[in-house]
């Protein structure tokens, strides 16, 4: 018998196909709860979840908090502006302090790749990676997989293109790993300055030009251009970026009729995607947001309550 048997969720890397299916199936059940009048179940009563954000992120943080509250867990959230974290305390010191509070789960967002792995070595609590540097953002990938499965009925065999700053995107990395594991065909696209070295080793095809890359695709995933990275070295200007790499109505003419458009948010309207396309009929961007809560409920449930036993996969 299959059992979900993980203490932490550090990356998509560690999950098997069975694990991913289990998470998505569990999320399906939680979608139902979210549609009730009283959106709360006592499943994690008495459990505590600490979220700990070294980087600002309203959306991911809110989504986790909502998920924990709907499961009746106690929540505590700390952010980088809280005093102890700006006084030069090391991550390990902080980890030991958090551990002293004996939480069941620690959710970490950090600007350094690998920070959750370091944390996990020093705490007994389960650690959920809510985004580490340019490495992974597994809960985003899971909610993306969940959204695709709901919209398309399957993941295996679908053709997906991811467009934008692949090199610096943890979302892209986690999505690529997850999609490949689930049997989707993945193409990446964007300016060559933003395609990582040896990207083929991730099992993807590279088509630099979005106009060509999006043809015959079932899913288009747009990535956010981080405005702070706009230093004139990766690309000359936002104007030129939107002209050659942004998704607009014109470009959409070359896409399949039933394509779905995704974006991890927040959107820079008029840069990587125009407003009419983001709000248009193919867009599932808002579904991603609501699915995010269900996926995070599923993860908290599986990591804390789902019982860790023998894993046969």
């Amino acid at each position: 018998m299959y059992r979900f048997n993980h203490k932490d969720l550090l990356g998509m890397d560690q999950l098997s196909v069975n694990d991913i299916n289990m998470i998505l199936d569990t999320a399906d059940a939680f979608v139902e709860i979210s549609s009730r009048d009283i959106k709360k179940v006592p499943t994690l009563r008495g459990k505590s979840v600490v979220s700990f954000f070294y980087e600002p992120s309203t959306r991911t943080k809110a989504s986790f908090e909502m998920a924990a509250k709907r499961l009746s867990a106690d929540t505590l959230s700390l952010s980088a502006t809280d005093s102890s974290m700006v006084k030069g305390e090391t991550l390990i010191d902080t980890a030991r302090n958090l551990q002293a509070m004996n939480p069941d789960i620690i959710i970490l967002r950090h600007s350094s790749s690998g920070a959750p792995h370091l944390l996990a070595r020093y705490v007994d609590a389960g650690v959920i990676n809510a985004g580490d540097g340019m490495h992974e953002h597994p809960t985003q990938a899971l909610l993306d997989l969940f959204t695709i499965r709901k919209k398309k009925g399957r993941i295996k065999g679908l053709r997906v293109v991811i467009i934008g700053d692949i090199a610096h995107s943890r979302v892209a990395r986690s999505d690529i790993i997850g999609l490949r594991k689930m049997g989707a065909d993945v193409t990446i696209s964007g300016p060559p300055t933003m395609i990582p070295v040896d990207a083929e080793s991730l099992g993807v095809k590279i088509v630099f030009d979005p106009a060509k890359a999006l043809r015959n695709k079932d899913v288009i995933m747009m990535l956010r251009i981080q405005l702070e990275r706009q230093n004139g070295i990766q690309f000359p200007s936002l104007r030129e970026y939107s002209l050659f790499f942004g998704l607009n109505k014109e470009l959409m003419k070359g896409a399949k009729k039933d394509v779905i458009i995704m974006h991890p948010g927040p959107i820079n309207r008029g840069v990587e995607i125009t407003g009419d396309v983001a709000d248009g009929p193919s867009s599932v961007i808002l579904d991603q947001v609501s699915n995010g809560v269900a996926i995070r409920m599923a993860l908290l449930y599986l990591l804390i309550g789902g019982g860790r036993g023998d894993n046969l996969d």
């Binding site: 790749s113 690998g114 920070a115 340019m134 490495h135 990395r173 070295v197």
Partner: protein, 436 residues
């Protein structure tokens, strides 16, 4: 007093000697080298016999690239603890790089280092002085004064000379004083805050990559400057296939260039980083399997002359942190010999070649004493047990730091006795006070 090293197989790469010989040492010098059974000690003298049967005896090993953190970061390593680590690793001499605090860019710092080395009184310590004041790539240090104080070479290791004009003048000026110039080859712009090798693993881990070209661009610059000036440049810690190719070609054209690599570049590749292990983070970074193979080829073809450790101690303060924030560098003095002997067992190089790269070659490049075994010369010797098996343990290091990616590795072959000027500075399983 006479010390009699009995029955060991003497390997002396310079003379090509590889046979069982007794070594008789008196007053710090090798008095006699003779076949077994030919020495009868005078009855009226203090005699110490070292049974070296089944062992090999080599010239004292010389590490031409270490970072002892004194002055400035004594909590990581001092000249005394670094010398202990060196002795335990079979090294009788080390050359220490100038990126201390203060930087070794003046006579007073060179004097200080030599004074500390005298106090430690274990291995020989040769200071390498900075090329530029404050390692700032702006103006030259006083090469002449530094040489008189005891510096054996100049290098801006730790922060490469960014100005090609300054590097050219440094090489020209060094020629007047016969000072070797050692270059840490890295184009810092191209490294662009990278923390590991740029390739499949950096792409996978989302860590900033340092492309191989970042090293190779500078290797080519130094080759061109050596050609321009006609004076040798020594390339430190070669890590890429491209560097090996360029150096090979330069040597074939007769350009005066020499090169070293470190044991980690032929023992590990970038897959060692997959768990974000900060003990595998160094500069240049661990590269790809094809680079590891090229380094081995470079060693066997004589493109790479020297094996040096780039021993770079750091404390948990610098290493038990997020990967991006962790310091670059690993310790190496106590694992270098074993890792090199593994190359010999694998048939990459033969034993005399390995010993040459660890003794005679660095001695010739730096023009320091030692590197060979000859009657009348200082008794700097290393006795090696090729068959001793052990597991590298964190607690086992004599170094003050233990930032090594080789912890837990099973090794075969190690130094069991290290002798500097006739004095035993280290003997297997115990640290001896050299004066007792």
């Amino acid at each position: 007093m006479i010390t009699w090293i009995k029955g060991g197989e003497v390997i002396d790469p310079r003379s090509g000697t590889k046979r069982t010989l007794d070594i008789v040492i008196q007053k710090g010098k090798i008095e006699r080298l003779l076949p077994p059974g030919n020495f009868s000690p005078p009855g009226d003298i203090d005699l110490k016999i070292i049974d070296a049967s089944g062992m090999i005896v080599t010239p004292g090993l010389i590490d031409m690239h270490v970072h002892f953190r004194e002055p400035g970061e004594e909590y990581k390593e001092t000249i005394a603890t670094g010398s202990q680590a060196a002795a335990a690793g079979g090294f009788t001499a080390v050359a220490c790089m100038p990126n201390t605090n203060p930087i070794n860019d003046s006579r007073s710092v060179t004097d200080f280092i030599l004074e500390r080395a005298r106090k430690a009184n274990l291995t020989r310590v040769y200071p390498v002085a900075a090329i530029s004041r404050g390692l700032r790539s702006e103006s030259l240090t006083e090469f002449g004064d530094l040489k008189q104080a005891g510096a054996v070479a100049v290098s801006d290791d730790g922060r490469p000379v960014t100005s090609s004009e300054l590097m050219r003048r440094a090489i020209e000026y060094a020629r007047f004083f016969n000072l070797p110039v050692i270059s840490h080859c890295e184009d810092l712009d191209l490294s662009n805050k990278g923390v590991m090798h740029e390739g499949t693993i950096s792409t996978r881990l989302g860590l900033r990559g340092v492309p191989a070209a970042s090293e190779e661009i500078m290797v080519v610059r130094e080759i061109l400057l050596a050609k321009l000036t006609g004076y040798p440049v020594h390339i430190a810690h070669v890590s890429t296939e491209g560097s090996v190719t360029f150096i090979k070609q330069a040597k074939e054209e007769g350009v005066p260039v020499t090169a070293e690599t470190a044991p980690h570049y032929f023992s590990l590749d970038h897959t060692a980083l997959t768990d974000f292990d900060t003990n595998a983070k160094m500069r240049p970074p661990l590269r790809e399997p094809k680079d590891v193979e090229a380094i081995k080829r470079g060693l066997s073809q004589g493109v790479i002359d020297v094996i040096a450790t780039d021993h770079a101690p750091h404390s948990p303060l610098e290493k038990d942190v997020e990967f991006d924030n962790a310091a670059f560098g690993i310790i190496g003095l106590e694992t270098a010999l074993s890792l090199t002997l593994a190359l010999v067992r694998d048939g990459v190089i033969d034993l005399p070649t390995a010993i040459a790269k660890l003794s005679y070659n660095p001695a010739s490049i730096l023009s320091v004493k030692g590197g060979f075994i000859e009657e009348g010369k200082e008794a700097d010797l290393t006795v090696i047990d090729l068959n001793s098996e052990y597991v590298v343990q964190k607690e086992g290091f004599k170094s003050k730091s233990h930032n090594s990616p080789f912890i837990g590795w099973k090794m075969t072959g190690r130094a069991i006795l290290t002798m500097v000027g006739g004095r035993i500075v280290w003997e297997s399983n115990e640290q001896r006070n050299p004066d007792s």
